[in-house]
Symmetry: C2
DNA sequence: CTGAAAGCGCTTACAG
DNA sequence: CTGAAAGCGCTTACAG
């Protein structure tokens, strides 16, 4: 494969490489005869020229690449954040490179090199628990925290988790529920803490008590949701409804309720935080809270862009209102039982 | 951030850059006094040196990076392939960079540049339909098709889809089913065709007929599985069991059966191709066929590695036997009804 | 045993 | 209006 170099284009267009470079990069300070410019562009096209990325990167110390560190690539909810980020990055001429967080955090491994060798201009760090220490190699590299707030660490972009969970509670209250429980996420996940706070605030505003045994903690996975629901159902009085911090945990939780022989939604209403296509095909189809995740991805990239260009940017909370996706896992509580 | 260059290390160790380079890269042809070597290594360590990736890439025309084009990042099944590939790549000193197939195939967009600018040494192309044309920019770049067989295109690594589907059918036959249907994938997906072939072969070997209306086609998504199941259930005689080509389609299909009021597994047995944690939490928990997907990822990287090093490699079919994961969506058929 | 020098393919002051 | 030249940070024949 004979690769076309800038010199080839310049020769073909009968100009110097500097002129070719400036035309092809749209240098605004250049003044050049229209026909020369066209000749250069035509030849570049004809020879199918594209600049050698390494030569350019070496010269400019700039990669036009962002890395995105994502835990749980398998979680359908994350796909939407990724998609948003990819679009925004592409629009700005950047390539987005995805990195599995688990691999990323393993010290000494290949991904550390992404940073150490400055192969990316900036990093989007998504959804890691607050306790995670960012690798030292990150020093000096612009990054933004996606869906995670940690003021001491740096700029972050998050959605309004509390508002989302409030919406869930309000829906349940409106249906007539009073004994509403919450399956919360781990304490070290700030998203989880905000959802819990939103839950408590909404309950307070509705004049409802949150008994201690109405909050169960579950990590992200189905299995944890399953166990948390079992604990909830062991308590007395039993809740008539539960708002769950993640879709995966909700799927596990619903399985636990079913296993106990509870009829959903008649005997127990469930609403899950985050929506995904699969929610519509569960038994029962899950009522969910849809968050502006694509926007989350887009805005995160925009923040990173200004950081990379040397600007400063405050942390952002996306206030686009969450939406209730009404399906069949919520209903008015049974009267007495 | 003052970045350490090779020259800094060389100066600190009081050697030339060529010597430093050779020592740090473990050049086997070098002969050097042990203490000099140690001095160089010590200084590199102390100054926290890591080579500039662009300079090296420019010189060597080699990136130590593989790209992996993956459709449907959200599909939990893919996560396992990715994980396997990442591990194998890291073990060989390569970074694996994930690219969303949808973005990838959009012409003229940022990801084309990954190829055109030779930012990766090779490409893993996963699961695209057979009709997809690979972009022209791919010319000359080593690539392997993952989970897709297309001899005219190039080397591929696949699993034994037919054996997997055969296992599903045999399980159903053993339970006593005779009217077994199949929800197949799109005809343009070669994985789907092989699963269909495996289905037919296993049915034939069991002496069972496959009536035309016992094969329904569904794309990858839940919604398509839902519709395919409806078509299957509209036919007469009705199947007592169905083997489904993808987990997502199976989730949709089960929802359709449930919507019709069918009791699973008593009135209808279902087995899904591919396993994932979520399968255990569905209603009923899904019996699935577990394929060696991690191995698929690993072997694909190994193939790409030999390709990149200039070797030739035949296409591979991984013969590791698939496993039946027995859960609660399969049972003997009801007698008469 | 070790180092000076060329060159990978760009961009960009600088000089006409 | 345009081009020659330096230099980004490496690696590697080549010469001692």
């Amino acid at each position: 494969m004979p690769v076309t170099r800038l010199a080839d284009v310049a020769r073909a267009a009968r100009v110097g490489t500097s002129t070719a470079s400036r035309v092809l990069n749209g240098d605004p300070t250049i003044s050049i005869r229209a026909d020369t410019r066209e000749r250069i562009q035509r030849e570049a096209q004809r020879l199918n020229y594209s600049p050698n990325w390494f030569a350019r990167g070496l010269k400019l110390a700039r990669t036009a690449t962002f890395g995105m560190v994502m835990p749980n690539l398998a979680y359908p909810v994350n796909a939407e954040i990724i998609r948003g980020a990819e679009r925004a990055a592409a629009a700005a001429g950047y390539v987005l490179v995805l990195v599995d967080a688990e691999e990323f955090l393993r010290a000494g491994d290949a991904f550390q090199r992404l940073l150490q060798e400055r192969r990316v201009d900036g990093l989007l760090v998504a959804s890691a628990p607050s306790t995670t220490r960012l690798p030292d190699e990150l020093r000096g590299l612009p990054f933004v925290l996606v869906n995670r707030r940690a003021p001491r660490l740096g700029t972050s972009v998050t959605v309004d988790d509390a508002a989302g969970m409030r919406l869930a509670v309000e829906h349940l209250v409106e249906l007539g529920h009073r004994r509403i429980a919450h399956i919360a996420g781990p304490r070290d996940a700030d998203t989880a803490r905000r959802r819990l706070a939103g839950f408590r605030a909404a309950m307070r505003d509705a004049g409802l008590a949150v008994e201690t045994h109405f909050v169960a903690e579950a990590s992200f996975e189905e299995a944890a949701g399953f166990q948390a629901m079992e604990r909830l159902l062991d308590g007395r009085p039993r809740p008539t409804a539960v708002a769950i911090w993640s879709l995966a945990a909700a799927i596990g939780a619903v399985a636990a309720a079913r296993r106990r022989g509870l009829k959903l939604p008649e005997e127990l209403s469930v609403v899950a935080f985050h929506d995904a296509p699969i929610a519509a095909y569960l038994d029962p189809p899950l009522t969910t809270i849809r968050m502006p995740l694509r926007e989350l991805g887009e805005r995160s990239v925009q923040c990173l862009l200004t950081l990379v260009e040397g600007g400063a940017t405050p942390s952002i909370v996306i206030r686009t209102p969450p939406a209730l996706v009404l399906r069949e896992s919520t209903a008015p509580p049974r009267r007495r039982r």
